[in-house]
């Protein structure tokens, strides 16, 4: 369990440091695989349900979704994430910082129990890495990857806490995540079609920076004297 947690953390760090998108997809796929086998090693026994869940998880997260993302990547013709908001080196450093933060939070949270769960740290770390990726990267594809990592983090944390729900709910959650990322994949295609790029930093047509030109909003609305003429004209 600890080993898997360490591996998860390492893949995340790797993700932060790599500029090549195909590599990043592979990393995430590997992460999906690791998370898929996590329930098997967490010592809950090998019931049929656990096996099905693990299999579904692996198929979805490490095969289907990465495949789709790869297709999207091919179609868009992009290879690298260029000029992220925070450079790759700094990202790795921040990643390490985030790792410490996760450790700190987890240690504070579990101080009553006196145990520090490494997989919980990994969960938090994945969550933060996912957020960090979405925040600092520009390509829509990377953001989708970031979301996947975040989702992995949540899942890992959930497993490490041992808070398991019934089979159906777990399956439902998996399905939801899958559909979500699937949708993102579809939209990646659309983005590529519409914009000829998948850079989300150029997604800023929708903002409130523009001010309306309304007569009622300039201070002169208080002074209506000069408008006498208009009214007389209308009569």
């Amino acid at each position: 369990m600890n080993n898997i947690a360490t591996l998860l953390a390492l893949t995340s760090l790797f993700l932060l440091g790599s500029s090549r998108l195909s590599l990043a997809i592979n990393m995430v796929a590997f992460q999906g695989f690791l998370i898929g086998i996590l329930p098997l090693v967490s010592g809950h026994g090998f019931t049929l349900e656990v096996l099905i869940l693990a299999a579904t998880g692996i198929i979805m997260k490490s095969i289907a979704l990465p495949h789709m993302l790869r297709k999207a990547l091919e179609k868009s013709g992009t290879k690298r994430e260029v000029e992220p908001y925070i450079s790759f080196g700094a990202s790795i450093l921040s990643g390490i910082l985030l790792l410490f933060v996760s450790g700190w939070i987890v240690s504070r949270l579990t101080q009553d129990e006196g145990i520090v769960s490494s997989s919980l740290i990994a969960g938090f770390f994945l969550l933060f890495t996912g957020l960090f990726t979405i925040i600092t990267r520009k390509k829509a594809l990377t953001q989708a990857l970031g979301f996947l990592v975040l989702e992995n983090g949540v899942y890992t944390a959930g497993l490490s806490l041992g808070s398991e729900f019934s089979f159906m709910v777990e399956l439902g959650i998996l399905l939801d995540v899958f559909v979500g990322i699937f949708l993102m994949g579809i939209m990646l295609f659309h983005i590529d079609n519409e914009f000829d790029h998948i850079d989300t930093d150029r997604f800023d047509a929708l903002s409130d920076l523009e001010l309306p030109d309304l007569e009622l909003l300039n201070g002169n609305v208080l002074n209506l004297d000069q408008e006498l003429d208009e009214e007389e004209g209308a009569e």
Binding site: S163, G172, D176, E194, L217
Partner: protein
Amino acid sequence: MSTLWLIILFPILTGIVTLFTDSHKIRKILLIVCSVLHIVFTAFICLGSITPTTESWFCTDALSKIFLSLTSLLYFGASLYALTYLKPDEEGEHVSDFHDLSFLRNKNAVFMGCMQFFLSAMTLSVLSAHFGLQWIGVEATTLASTPLIYHHRNKKSLEAAWKYLIICSVGIALALMGVFFLAMAVPTQVEFFTPRGLSKFAGYLRTDWLQVAFIFILVGYGTKVGFAPMHTWLPDAHSEAPSPASALLSGALLNCALLAILRVYQVCAEVPAVQALALQLFILFGLVSMAISGIFIMHQADYKRMLAYSSVEHMGIMIFAFGLGKAATAAALFHAICHSLVKSSLFMLAGNILSAYQTKKVEKIHGLLRTMPITSVLWLAGFLAITGTPPFGTFMSEFSILKVAVESRNYLFGALYLLFLVLVFVGMLTIFSTMALGKKMPVNSEGQPIGYKDPELRKDGTVYEHPLQYITPIVFLAAALFLGCYIPEPVLQIINEASAILGGKAL
């Protein structure tokens, strides 16, 4: 299998059928049939004829009933409205074209199908008692509504949909984390992972975990509800979505997410320390949301975005009220009802204006009272209703909330609350009076307007308004007006019951 599954599953079925139907007419019929069926089911649930068999998945308490009937009602209104709003299929739009994964080709089929999925998801999230199931429902609403937002298939709607999907997914993922923590807060394995199930362990809940869980869930679902500063997707999505979808998003979806938070609060209320934290955060998020929305409603250039911000504001009002507790809880629930009715009508009316003028810019629209008499009168009435002007129901709730704030000696909060309400009022008044009043459009010799995009004017200088375009707003606004003058006994009873569930007093 509980019969409750039926109400969740049949919209999915009709939705799938819709998705693969080529005839626009049949799709329309399916849409309406689905909504009517849903209303019938809802009526049975509200009357208590359908109840969950076990406690583990669903509950149909007063809270669920309120939000379910709101959802059902708004959905009915929105589908009626969608009948006229959706233009007939364009040439070459076939359903079964799966070419290069670029999603289904037929916009209308996707839209109507997803509406029904959306309904199902919302129903699931409202009815579910199990926190995991509820999470699935809320996430499903996001997934089902993304295609709705992308309906127009242009750059802006794509951008809006992408932002919506990413932000809400992130938020809801955080909420899932919170749900896991919630499970940790219970020392032993629980039989029912539901509010009632957890409440049985009231004395044994672990404060730390519960607090963390609550924060994660509040931030997570709060993103979906649209609390500032997580509301950023909301104006984009609401303004780009087609109006029936905006009406549903604003009137129904936000409520569903709010309900999810309230369900968690039900558990938190069992532990005083966590309850104090929760109430504090409620008030904080409420005031921040109101302030932010006020700022953006002032100087707003786009009337649909203005309505979206107004939703942020009203969610803020409600959560603020929940934070105050006591009678304000009931007031907030009442407010939720009135807000849903009014806001969805306003979005529909905005749709009318948009389809006539083809612009969402406030500054380009003047003298609506001349060109679209019915829409603009309703538009003004909606303005009064949404800003809490008596005798609309919103006034009653807003005033009772203020009274509770003062009663509990939160003078500062009360004053801020009023200040933000004024800010919103002024901003909205500016926009509504610019649009409805003022000079009529200059027209050329043929009576067609000059310098504007091109509403097709008829001889008398007005735009044709289809009855379906305004019948729902009329009914909804009338209902909001009626509720402001008199609350029928069953409604009052159910509100008070729901308020009691949340530890509040009667209205």
